[in-house]
């Protein structure tokens, strides 16, 4: 069976620095997969390779068995790969609804139209509002991003990605910087994602990872260090050592 998203022998070098080394990775459809690793392990680089922000130095990236290694970012989005960012990338001066509207309008092909008012595309507005309702953001729809608490901003980050109706969703530290009182909102939202989406989550928060993931991949120094179910990874002495910072010094 072909995996939803797969990398074969992917490496990425920045000069002498190897940010990814020979990564063989599979994300199955409907998977809840977590990618963990110490700081600088190359997690975000790996996401950038999957989304086409960076092109690998060697190796191939496959989507449903089709080679997308050199495909442009915008093209991959059309093929169903969406992501959120570790640091919010929102349309800050616009309202919450507009933020999601832009994403949905792009997906349904409404965005190039110049002579119908945006407000008359009820289909786009309704879909954006529906998304906001599922993320419990509807009451904030009229506020600009600047007037929103950080936890809600993270949800808008997620809403923009979901506006793409992705098949593959890459979440780069979705709960980063969110006060613990608000983090349950993010977790609930992730739990409520459609089951059919293949989700890859990067996070440092082990509670979140072990609650969310059915499968965990550990990345250390750009290479896959271990992979398995949460139980296996939790019991893996090497992984624990890496996280306690004892194993790979010297």
């Amino acid at each position: 069976m072909t995996a939803l998203l797969e990398t074969r022998g992917v490496s990425k070098n920045f000069g002498a620095l190897a940010a990814s080394t020979n990564v063989n990775f599979k994300l199955e459809s409907g998977a809840r997969h977590a990618l963990i690793g110490p700081n600088g392990a190359g997690k975000t680089t790996f996401i950038n390779l999957l989304t086409g922000v960076l092109l690998p130095s060697s190796g191939t990236v496959l989507l449903r068995g089709q080679d997308i290694t050199t495909m442009e970012q915008a093209q991959r989005v059309k093929f169903g790969i969406a992501r959120t960012f570790q640091i919010n990338r929102l349309f800050r001066g616009l309202s919450v609804l507009e933020n999601v509207y832009i994403s949905v309008a792009e997906r349904v092909g409404a965005a190039p139209s110049m002579f119908t008012p945006a407000g008359k595309r009820r289909d786009v507005i309704d879909e954006a509002m529906h998304l906001l309702e599922t993320l419990k953001l509807a009451d904030y729809a009229h506020l600009t991003i600047n007037g929103l608490p950080y936890g809600r901003q993270r949800l808008v980050e997620l809403a923009i990605a979901l506006g793409q109706k992705p098949e593959v969703l890459l979440l780069d530290e979705p709960a980063a910087g969110v006060p613990s009182a608000e983090s349950h909102i993010i977790l609930d939202a992730i739990d409520a994602l459609p089951k059919s989406i293949g989700v890859l989550i990067i996070d440092h928060d082990m509670d979140l990872v072990f609650r969310f993931a059915q499968r965990i991949t550990v990345l250390v120094r750009g290479a896959i260090f271990a992979e398995g179910t949460p139980k296996e990874i939790g019991a893996n002495a090497d992984v624990r050592a890496v996280y306690l910072g004892q194993a790979t010094h010297g």
């Binding site: 001066g93 507009e98 407000g119 008359k120 009820r122 509807a138």
Partner: protein, 341 residues
């Protein structure tokens, strides 16, 4: 659709579905412009200059205010339009007013498209310098192409035939010009207004607010910017064409940095990315310049400079932003007693 029903009550959804609809104050600028025609028949020369400046500022607002394309060379397109009209008429090729304006739009738009294809690969300071260079190149070309452009002296004595064969352009009493320019401004404004409230306009503001995220939602960012820049250039070309028709001459000032900087100042003064900032800014700038230069003929620009410093430091949204801040504050203070219990 039953699912859509609750949306009508949602503040955000309502703002989105209502925002393109005409607001009660929107006819005001046009009524004022008509009132000016009847009240100050002796100042219609000033009036035509003002209306042309408003149109030029609107074209810049589309590129700078909405799409966030930082440019200091927008007079390149104004000048291209002015020289198109001027050269066609001066060399006896074509001088019917309205079709000349269309030619001005096409030429300026083509220059916008050609330069945009190259320039819009860059951003920020690089883009700023390259737009400046484009304008300087055109200015120098107009200076050197003496046989065609009149060089440093420009082209004088442009003959514009009567509009629709009936209404004569009179340089001393520019009544016809004023109404003609007002009509062209209205048409262009309605076009730009439609554009900025469309999904295309929404995506331009998205590019302005966060270009990287627009890439990540699959938007063809560069194509959008080039389309926007071309449209903006074409409208600036129409403004330039009107200028040539109203003044019956063209010179290098239409292509100069002075003009490009002034229109930028006007837009910042009025408030960019707000459609009506161009109106407010142009009126404020030209009225201020008029009276300050009477009061202090030697140092009138000082007053303008001070005002700009204040705007840049404290009121990023310009005069209109100032208005928004005040009405927002009033609304909050009025709403506060209601929401406290």
């Amino acid at each position: 659709m039953s699912a859509a029903a609750p949306d009508h009550d949602n503040l955000g959804a309502r703002a989105m579905t209502q925002r393109h609809k005409l607001r009660w104050w929107e006819p005001l600028p046009w009524l004022l412009a008509l009132a000016f025609y009847f009240a100050f028949p002796r100042h219609l020369g000033f009036g035509t200059e003002l209306l042309i400046t408003v149109l030029f500022a609107i074209s810049l607002d589309l590129a700078l205010g909405y799409a966030g394309i930082v440019t200091l060379g927008h007079a390149a397109f104004f000048g291209a339009g002015a020289y198109t009209v001027g050269m066609l008429a001066h060399h006896g090729i074509w001088n019917e007013p309205i079709s000349s304006l269309l030619a001005a739009a096409v030429v300026a738009g083509a220059i916008g498209l050609a330069s945009g294809l190259v320039l819009l690969r860059t951003t920020g300071l690089t883009l700023l310098m390259l737009t400046l260079c484009t304008m300087a190149l055109l200015e120098e070309a107009a200076n050197l192409g003496h046989d065609w452009t009149g060089g440093f002296d420009g082209l004088t004595g442009i003959v514009i035939p009567p509009l629709f064969g009936a209404f004569e352009f009179n340089p001393l009493f520019p009544k016809v010009q004023y109404l003609y320019i007002l009509a062209v401004l209205l048409v262009c404004f309605v076009f730009v207004r439609t554009l900025v409230y469309s999904p295309f306009g929404e995506s331009l503001t998205g590019i302005r607010e966060n270009t990287l995220r627009m890439h990540a939602v699959g938007a063809p960012v560069r194509t959008r910017l080039i389309v926007c820049y071309t449209i903006s250039a074409a409208i600036a070309g129409i403004a330039g064409g009107l200028w040539a028709q109203a003044n019956a001459y063209v010179n290098l000032s239409t292509l100069g940095l002075d003009r490009a900087a002034t229109v930028l100042i006007i837009l910042v003064l009025g408030g960019y990315g707000r459609l009506y900032g161009a109106f407010v800014g142009a009126v404020a700038y030209m009225v201020l310049a008029h009276f300050l230069s009477k009061l202090y003929p030697t140092a009138w620009q000082l007053g303008l400079g001070l005002m700009l410093v204040i705007i840049a430091l404290f009121f990023r949204g310009g005069i209109l932003g100032m208005g928004d801040a005040i009405t927002g504050w009033l609304r909050r203070t009025r709403a506060a007693p209601k929401s406290s219990p």
